[in-house]
Structures are given as C-alpha cells and as structure tokens.
Symmetry: C2
Subunit: 344 residues, 2 copies
C-alpha cells in the first residue's frame, strides 16, 4: 500500500532496535524467549516506524492464509444487487464470526455453473470455504464431491442430508414447515397451497413442504399436490406461482410460501385478484427477512437464527481446518406471528 521505497520491513526494525531480524519476528509473535528490555526496544522501533507484519509473507511461511472465503451463489438470477436479503443477513453474521476468530473473509458471488472449487482452495487464497446459496442440489452435488476429493475444507449452509458430501449447517426446515402447518390448522385452514419447488432438487424447500405435510397428516389430512407450484426464491417467481395457482381453479384457504420473497410476490398476486389476506387466504413465508415486517398485512413467517448460524458455520469450518472433530448441525426454527395468517 505504500510506495515501494517506503515500505518498512522487519529488517528496518531490526536495524533501528539493534537486534537481528529473527528477534523482531519473535517479539511480534509474542515469543516468551525474548528479554524484556530487548522486547521494549523492538516495540519502540515498531511504533516509531509504524510497522506491521506483511501477512503475505507470514502466511506463506506458515503455510496458511488466515482467510476464509464465502462463496455466495445464486442460481437463476445474475441480476445485480438483488441478492436474497436472507443471505445478506447471513453474510453479516459470518463476517463478524470470522473476524472474531481472527480470520479475514473473502467474499465472492458465483454462478452455480461457475468453476468455483479450484479457485480459492487450490490457490491457497483461503484456508476454507463457506458455501451459501440455494440452487439445484442435484447438479450442485457433483461440485461438492469434487471439493471433497480435492481435500478442500468447506461447510455449506443448507439442508443436512444423510449422504451428502462434506458438512452442512442448516435450519431445521422440517420443523419450520411443521410449525407453519400446525399454525394454519389451528386457524381452521385445511386446503394449504405450497409455493416453491418440492423435490430433492431443492432439499430445503422440500423439507419445508414435508414438515407442513407432517403436521397435516398428524391431523388426518395431507398436502394436495394439485396445490403445489414450483417457484425459486424471488418475488417474481412468487407472483407467477400465485397466479398459476389461482388459474388452476382449485380452492385453497392458505398459502405456505417456501420463502419470504415468494410470499411477497404471492401477496401481490392475491391482492390483484381481490383475494383478501388473511380473511380469505392465510399466507405464511419462511426466512423472516427485514421486509417481512413491512408487507400489508405483515407476514407471518419462520425465522432462522442467522446470528448463531454464522457463528456455527465459522466454528465448524475452523474445526475442519484444525483437524478437530466436526459434524453437520441443525438450528431450530421459530415461528414469527404477524398478521398475514389471521387471528388465532
């Protein structure tokens, strides 16, 4: 960052303090071997010249990078700045967790189709990867296997699956779906539509669907496949899916959207068709993004604990890097009641 002739190195400090460069390094690394007086002289020199260790060199020597890479990928959209707000909240908590752990965080947006595995791991730019983003799991899975084969340390945010390559931290989507199902049942709703892909391609959404179904089954009911419409996590998809649902002409009294973005789009479509929420149709989302508080009516949704999630992702990745024991884990989901489902 400085002009080249200015750049202060540990040798300059050594000269100024009248010691060897090795001793400067020892002081800077808090070695207990150094004499108190020597240490003081070195520290004074460091302050005087405003020196700080060159991390590139230090990391090269230590065979580490001191950096974690966060790869945020989005499947369909490459639309600038329209990142799912939920992931942005995750990004915030991951950044803080990494900083607390003494790691820098490299952030990169990727297309799911990109060749992201070699880039960070292989080039030693990062000690480990955090993968964030929903996409078609079945096409994504192969890349995870490549990462594993390559010896890359990584943790993925998403559904915890039995035979998955690598580890993941995720919300208990099954439980979240069940909470929504039970809530809607308690409100007297019976014909619950689901907006979102519900297949093994999108395990997070699928679990939400199945959780809701489980709640219905416990009451002797079941989700009706005729009321399920595919949608990815975007407002436009939610809008389109809700319109498609209405066009089907099947009666429904509730909409469970696989994400808040989908729910927001659905709210718009419902309003356009004169369907009153929550009087005629209950609507629930998933994620509790900031905008969920401001929709009309305010959206009942399932909150994932992003703050713990970030900490847990970093924690697990660090365990992997340090060779300690590490395992996939699920975080509890929490129902957030607002107005879009109606009074209990």
């Amino acid at each position: 960052m400085q002009s080249k002739r200015d750049r202060v190195t540990s040798i300059d400090i050594a000269h100024l303090a009248g010691v060897s460069q090795a001793t400067v390094s020892r002081v800077l690394n808090g070695s207990p071997l150094v004499n108190v007086e020597t240490r003081r002289r070195v520290e004074a020199a460091v302050r005087e010249l405003g020196y700080s260790v060159d991390r590139r060199a230090s990391n090269l020597r230590l065979q580490r990078s001191g950096t974690l890479a966060l790869l945020l990928f989005e499947d369909p959209t490459s639309d600038d700045s329209h990142i799912n707000p939920f992931f942005l909240a995750m990004l915030g908590s991951i950044t803080r967790a990494a900083a607390r752990a003494g790691y820098d965080l490299l952030v990169s947006f990727q297309q799911l189709s990109d060749d992201w595995h070699a880039d960070y791991a292989g080039s030693m730019k990062a000690d480990g990867l955090i993968l964030l983003g929903y996409g078609d799991y079945l096409s994504y899975r192969g890349k995870l296997e490549a990462l594993v084969a390559h010896g890359t340390r990584f943790v993925r945010w998403g559904a915890v699956l039995p035979d998955q390559p690598g580890l993941s931290i995720g919300c208990d989507n099954l439980q979240g779906g069940r909470l929504v199902g039970e809530h809607l049942l308690g409100l007297g709703r019976r014909r619950i539509a689901f907006l979102g892909d519900a297949s093994t391609h999108y395990p997070e959404f699928f679990d939400r669907y199945r959780g809701c179904d489980a709640a219905l089954q416990a009451a002797g009911l079941a989700m009706d496949p005729a009321l399920q419409i595919d949608a990815q996590s975007s407002e436009d998809d939610g809008y389109g899916a809700a319109r498609a649902l209405i066009a089907r002409g099947q009666p429904f009294d509730a909409v469970f959207a696989a994400s808040d973005l989908i729910a927001i789009g659905a709210l718009r479509a419902l309003a356009e068709h004169g369907l009153r929420v929550p009087e005629e149709v209950s609507v629930a989302g998933f994620d509790d993004i900031p905008a969920a508080r401001f929709t009309t009516p305010a959206l009942t949704t399932v909150a994932q604990d992003t703050s713990s999630a970030g900490a847990m992702l970093v924690e697990t990745l660090m365990a992997l890097i340090d060779g300690g024991p590490a395992a996939s884990r699920m975080l509890p989901a929490r129902l957030v009641l607002r107005q879009s489902c109606g009074e209990r």
Copy 2:
C-alpha cells in the same frame, strides 16, 4: 487447503513436464517466449496434477496482494446482522465490480472507533481500501488524514467535500434533497420536517437537508429549524425522532427522513399517533432500500444508483493503485414516486 504432503507446486509440474520451474511459471503467466510444444507439455502436466498457482507466493513476489478490502463501518450499533440494507446493496455491486476487475474482495465490519487504517493497508493484505458507512465525519476525518499520510490508497463512499482527505464517490445528495423539496411543494406541502442530523458532522444528511431547503428558498420559503430533529440511520432513531417531533407541538404537513430506515420508523410513530399518511402528512425517505416498496403506504424515496456506484468505486480505486489520474465523483439521484407523499 490440501493436506501438506499433497500440495502440488510448480516444481512438481516442472518435473512432470521435464522443464525448469521457471518455464512453468512462464507458461502460467502467458509469456510469449515459450515454445508451443513446451507450453503444451506444461499445460498437460498442470491439468494432470490439478495445479493452480499459489497466490500468496505470487503476490509476495509481485509486491501486490490482488485484493481490495471493503471496510463497512457503523457508528452507534454493533448489533449483529442489522446492517443498513442500503450498504448491503452496495456490497453486492462492489463485490461484482471487484471480481470483474480481477480482484478479490476482503470484507470487514468495523466500528468507527476501531483502528482500521493499519490493519489492511500496512499488512499488505489489500492493495486498496473502500470505505463504506456513515458516521460522524468530523471524528472520522482524522483517520482519513492518517490514511493519506500513510500512503494508503482508498476511496470513500459519501459526500464529496471540497477539502477532504482522499477521494470519494457519492450520490448528489443536494440534488436528491432538492427533488424531494420540489415534489413536496408541488403537493402543496409547506411545513416540512426533517428527521436526521443536519450538520457538518453528517455531510450526506446535511446536503439532503440543504437541497430541500434550496427548493423551498426558490419558492420564497425555507426549512424551519424547529422542525428538524437529529436521527441516525435506524428505524428506532426514526421512530424516536418522529415522536419527538410530534411532542414539540409545531404543526407540520410533511416529513423528509434522511434515510429510508428513519422514514420507516417515522411511519410507525405517525400511525401510532393517528396521523394519516399521506392525507395529513407526506413522508419521503432516501436510499430506496428493498423494504421501501412494502411499507404502508409504500415509501416515496430517492434512489441512489448502487450498481454504478460499486463500479465507480472500484474503478477509481484501481486508478489510484495504478498511479493513474483519479478524482472524486458524484452520481445523480432519482426520485422514486410511491404512495407516501400523496397524489400529485
């Protein structure tokens, strides 16, 4: 990222291809000197062993880092995951712009009070810094001067001020304020309250205030200091400021909030006091965050072009790094009409 014994280096490639390590490096850097046949052999070896260049070593040798650091700081709140959505949008566009320019992006959240200048620049972790965040400019200014003195390359997002240390890219806040003022006047509003700090401590907010004032002055009116209440960019501050405004008992027919977050808080306070928006009071914000579309009524606000902003920040920083000419610049503001101000 690999276990140590596995790590492939350029020497392994050299052995396999039967050339010197220097030649491998030449091939990887696209040197025109290399014989076609030799190049092919090396490339085959690279593929076979799945090699990629160790960027730490390469950067050390080249005396660069290939990395830009984005320092996002927030003044009052250290509250997890409650980052201003506007900055998150900026983060998205900066990340993409950095990637397009071939730079990695290191992201870090900082407290304004932290000692952030030495950390990235001095330690050669980044070739340049992008500073993002509003805070008390007067206390912040000293740090900028330290960066300049230190020879650090940086670009700041914020107001372009005449005598500022370093460069900045910012929205034309004065113009944005003027647009709001003119719009409110056109709606017949005369007593416009301003929620947000309006002093040299917060130049962005101050410019928005002065822009609005300029519009009033052009009509022979002026902002009334009795209707200005300090607030930082948060919903809570906006709520508190609007309550304080109401408590003052001075009549007002419009609220210009210095940011959307403030506006959203104000909307809540106004609703609680039974003041109808937009019938009795017009409300306008600034930033056009995603949630602005979902408030009731939807928020009229001023959009900043985050997408160009990110590109321009990166562009300017790279010019600085390459020693080219670089200058502060302002981006135009754009009024986004929704329902919170009423019909024109």
